[in-house]
Structure formats: C-alpha cells, structure tokens
C-alpha cells in the first residue's frame, strides 16, 4: 500500500533530498501521492462544509430574490426584499446593533485580555489551563438562564441599585443600565467575555515568557511592551476573540429581548422577526447583507492592517 521507507520523505517541499521518485508513476499513484489514500481524508471536512453549508448558503442568496407568498415563497427574481430592508428603518436597527456589538468587543478586550496576559505570565504553568477553566463555569448554565439572571441584578429594585442606595451613593435607582442599549452591551459583555479570555490565552501561548524579560531588560515600560510587543504577537487570538464576540453580539437574539428597551433588536432578532412573520425572502436578504457586511469589514481590515499578517504566527 505504501511505498518504501526511502520514499516517505519530508512533507515540507523545501526540505532536502533523499527522495526516490519512481520513473513513471501510474495514474493511481499520482492520485494518492506518497501518503496513500489518507491524504484525501483531510478533505473530508471541506467536503462536509461545502455540502452542508456552502450549498445551503448559496440557496439563501437565491431565495433572497424570490417572491414572497403568504406562507412561503416562490421562484422569481425581485429585489423587493432588499428595497424593503433599506426603506423600512430596519437598516437603522441593523447599524445600531453593529455599534453596540463593537462596544461590547472593546469593553471585553479591555477587561478580558489583561487577564489572559496575567495568567500566561504569572500563574504557574501547571495551573494555567485550570485557571482558564474558571471562565468556562458560567457556560455550564444555559445562556438563557444567565441572561435572565442579569435582570434582578441590573433592575430598578435590583441588587446593584439597592446596594448603591444603601451606601448612599445615589438617591434614585439608575434605570439606564437595564432596558436600554447599555443593558444590551452589559449583557453581551457578561455573556461573551470568556471568549476573549480563551482566545487571548490561546494566542498568548505563542508568546514565550522570555519576551517579557527581554522587554524589561531593554527598559520598555508596561504600556509600551503591551502595545508594541504583546498585542502584535497575540493578534490572532485577539482577532478571533473579537470576531466571536462581534458576531455573537449581532446574532444572539436573546440579549436584546431580555435586556433591551422597547423594540430593541439586533441583526439576529431582525431576521428572527422576519421569519416569524413568514417573510422568508426578507430574512434571507438580511442574512445575505449580514454576510456581505462582515466580509466587507474583513476586507477593509485587510487593506488597513494586512490581515494575512495575523495568519503569519500560525504558519
């Protein structure tokens, strides 16, 4: 099945010789290469994604131009769904939700990334992963229950307000932390902060401890070390964490439903509402717009910062 030991040379194309190439490989041998059939096994995930994701998604774009019937849709071509989206104030809701999600990302980064750095640097290696596990604990309860539990904490007569009033800091309950955009942002941060910690920690694994010593020795202050050395090195993880949080903030309909003000929505909820009203072409159109927006953001980021550099530490 496999060729002789001598032919099983390096995977990396740049590595040196010692390769015995048979004079004229048969078609079968060309197909399976040196490693045998198992090479093709690696394409299984790709095949899976194409079959169960790419194809349904292309259908989504196709359906977004279909005509709407009372309960479903029928084949046709119309841009009415897109017109509807832009003319009906949904686009404003969509943009607001993107701004709120962006705030959630920024706050999560400010709160969570320093923790990842601290754990990597100061906690004994043996214990590092266990400490990070602490951040998994909140997820063991369903998200729904956790977000609901924010209400008695942030509410008019909730724990926070009662505490502040008892210590005399305020006279009237603070109502702006719940049923408002701020409430949604707080909810997003509390729900998704661990993603930033995990992703940051994983990225920090690529940062060797001697880097800190080197910076200290060279006299760089904490801020400079952080800004010029650590952040670029940990960029993949920061990027991944930001993407997770941004996308979840946009898409998880629960948070605005439970913590948002009157009619608060995010992109996921807008889609949800379109589906509930059985307007499938509109739902598909919003989804297409969402995918396009995110790809556009990535592209702009790429032009500004050259995102392939993020992939570099991984290569």
């Amino acid at each position: 099945m496999t060729v002789t030991r001598r032919d099983k040379s390096s995977i990396s194309p740049t590595a040196g010789g010692g390769r015995d190439i048979p004079a004229s490989p048969s078609a079968w041998q060309r197909l399976i290469g040196e490693d045998g059939l198992q090479k093709w096994a690696f394409y299984a995930p790709v095949a899976f994604m194409i079959l169960f994701f790419a194809i349904p998604m292309m259908l989504t774009v196709v359906w977004s131009v279909f005509e709407r019937t009372q309960f479903w849709m029928e084949p046709g071509f119309t841009l009415f769904a897109y017109e509807n989206f832009f003319n009906s104030a949904r686009v404003e809701n969509y943009l607001y939700s993107m701004i709120h999600s962006a705030w959630a990302v920024v706050i999560s980064f400010a709160l969570g990334f320093p923790i990842a750095v601290f754990v990597r640097r100061r906690v004994p290696k043996v214990a590092q992963h266990r400490v990070i596990l602490l951040f998994i604990l909140p997820f063991m309860i369903s998200e729904l229950v956790r977000v609901f539990a924010m209400r008695p904490i942030l509410g008019r007569y909730g724990i926070l307000n009662t505490f502040f009033m008892n210590i005399g800091l305020i006279d009237e309950p603070i109502t702006v932390i719940l049923f408002s955009p701020l409430g949604v942002i707080i909810g997003d941060v509390v729900s998704f902060l661990p993603f930033m910690v995990f992703a940051g920690f994983l990225a920090m694994e690529a940062v060797q401890l001697y880097v800190f010593e080197v910076c200290d020795d060279l006299g760089a202050g904490g801020v400079r070390t952080f800004r010029d050395v650590i952040v670029p090195l940990a960029a993949p993880g920061i990027f991944a964490g930001s993407v997770f949080i941004f996308v979840n903030g946009l898409g998880v309909a629960l948070v605005p439903i439970i913590l948002g003000g009157p009619g608060a929505v995010n992109a996921g909820l807008i889609v949800n509402q379109a589906i509930v009203a059985l307007d499938f072409p509109l739902a598909m159109a919003i989804s297409t717009i969402m995918i396009v927006t995110l790809i556009a953001l990535l592209y702009i980021g790429h032009r500004l910062f050259d995102l392939t550099k993020i992939l570099e530490p991984i290569n």
């Binding site: 994604m49 349904p56 400490v131 229950v145 609901f148 904490i153 992703a199 993880g237």
Partner: protein, 296 residues
C-alpha cells in the same frame, strides 16, 4: 514564576482583579442557585427557602430526558467536530489556497442561527426526498429514511455551528508546534498516524481539550438550530426556551440548572485546587534542587 522586579502587591491586585471578574461572570450563576431554593421560583418578591425542587427535579421525566438528549448531542458534536477540526488545521498548513479555505471554514460564524437552520431544513427536505426515491428505486428500504428530521440532522446543524470555533482554537494551538518534529519522526520511519499521535498530539493536547470544552459549551447552550432541525425529541435548551416563552420556566428547571452548575463548579474547583497545591509542591522541590543550601 516570579521575577525579582515585580511587586507582591501588584501580583495580589492582579489576582484580585481576575477573581473579581470571575465572580462577576458567575454572579448570574450564583443567583440561579439561590433562586432554585425559592418556593416561589424566579422573579418572586417573596422568598421562602425549600429544597423541594431538588427533590422533584430528578423525577421530572421531561427535564431528565431532555438533559439526556443534550448530552447525546454534545458527545456526538465533540466526536465529529474535533477530528474534523484537526484535519482542517492540518490541511490549512499544506494548502496553497489559504485565504479561501479559511473563509469557507469560518463563514458559518457569520450566519445567524435562524437562517442557517431554515436553509438546512429546506435542504434536508430535498435530500430526504431524493434518498426516498433512491431507496425506492434500488429497493433498499434503509436508504429511505436518511436525512429525515431526527438526531442526525440536528447533529449536522450543531457541527456546522461549532466547527469554526474548533478549527480556530486548534489552529492557534498548532501554531506553536514545530512541524520539523513531524518530519523528523517520519524520517525515523513513523507513518503519518504515528507521527501525529505520538509526537504532535501530546504537545497540542491542551489546545485540543480546550476545543472540546468549547464545543461542549456551545452545544449545551444551542437552541435555535436544534429546534428547527430535530426530530421528536427536546434538548434542555429547547425545553427552557419553550418554557420561557409559554409558561415561565419551571422551578425544576432552575433546580436542574443549579445541579449542573454545582457539579461543574465542584469538579473544576477541585481540579484547580489540586493543581495549585501540586504546583506549589513542585516549585518547592525545584527550588530545593536549584538552591539546596537556601531552602530547607
């Protein structure tokens, strides 16, 4: 590992910050546990302590069955997603079309749950029809039920949802593994599988376990895709969502949630304490070895 220039106070403050963030994140969890002992359930203005709900929760067959299904789905998701994530990460390193590949693998992240589920639902309907016809034409009855709504379809929905996360986590972990080690192993005569399992895997184990934890968490909490793509069963999240919308979450649900958090906190808490104690001991031993005169 502390260097000579850091301050004890700074260190303690940073630990305090970390623990306060953890505590803030866990506040909802503690609140839920507190509420699960309330006679009047969640959102009541009166509180009467009772352990009734814990006594009856295991007798609530619907909740227990839903928890079973949640676990089945989570196990199924991990068993399929992690190997696929590993294979994708390895493929990423070899392929020339890196950007395109990453876009394909990460795009499920950008699609709202409802849309993914709706598109998959219609897709499965057509697939199911095709297989029914195929099974009939070939006379193979067992083919006819493929892709009918059931466990398999719900699992596929979950895999599409969690695979990008597993892929990214494993990719980041693999980034600090030196591929020359695999080459060396192959040069010594190991086949691809041995090179992976015996050389590479032990070094990326931690990352792989993180990915497993991630997938389990995501699967546990997922409700929308499962609701549309499942057959005649409910997961715990489905039950919770249905209760939230229709009758209010039952007190047993909070007790169930309480049990899940108490169990996980105990497990993880003891892991952490054990590891910290062990690391203290190891550190002491190392210091003793390094400075036999100074210690002891």
């Amino acid at each position: 590992m502390r260097d000579d220039y850091s301050s004890e106070l700074g260190h303690k403050l940073k630990w305090a910050y970390l623990l306060s963030i953890v505590f803030a994140l866990l506040a909802p969890v503690f609140y839920v546990i507190y509420i699960s002992f309330n006679e009047y359930g969640f959102g009541a203005r009166i509180y009467e302590f009772t352990t009734d709900w814990y006594r009856v929760v295991l007798g609530d067959t619907m909740l227990v069955a839903s928890l079973e299904w949640t676990i089945y789905l989570a196990v199924g998701a991990v068993a399929t997603t992690i190997p696929m994530g590993l294979m994708s990460a390895k493929l990423y390193k070899r392929t020339r079309h890196k950007v395109g590949f990453v876009t394909l693998m990460l795009s499920p992240l950008f699609v709202p749950a409802d849309i993914l589920a709706s598109s998959l639902l219609v897709f499965f309907k057509h697939l199911s029809g095709a297989f029914e016809w195929l099974g009939g034409a070939l006379g193979q009855g067992w083919l006819q039920t493929w892709f009918e709504l059931g466990f398999l379809t719900a699992l596929i929905g979950q895999i599409i949802y969690t695979l990008p996360y597993a892929f990214v986590v494993i990719l980041i972990t693999m980034s600090r593994y030196h591929p020359q080690q695999t080459e060396a192993a192959r040069g010594c005569g190991a086949n691809a599988w041995q090179a992976f399992w015996q050389v590479e895997f032990p070094q990326i184990k931690a990352g792989v376990f993180s990915a497993c934890a991630f997938v389990v968490i995501l699967s546990f909490n997922e409700a929308t895709r499962t609701a549309l793509l499942k057959g005649g069963f409910d997961t715990f999240s489905n039950v919770l969502v249905s209760q939230m919308l229709n009758v209010g979450m039952s007190e047993e649900s909070y007790a169930m949630g309480g049990i899940m958090s108490i169990v996980s906190m105990t497990v993880i808490g003891s892991l952490i304490i054990y590891t910290l104690i062990r690391s203290e001991r190891l550190e002491r031993v190392a210091r003793a070895k390094a400075e036999p005169l100074m210690s002891g």
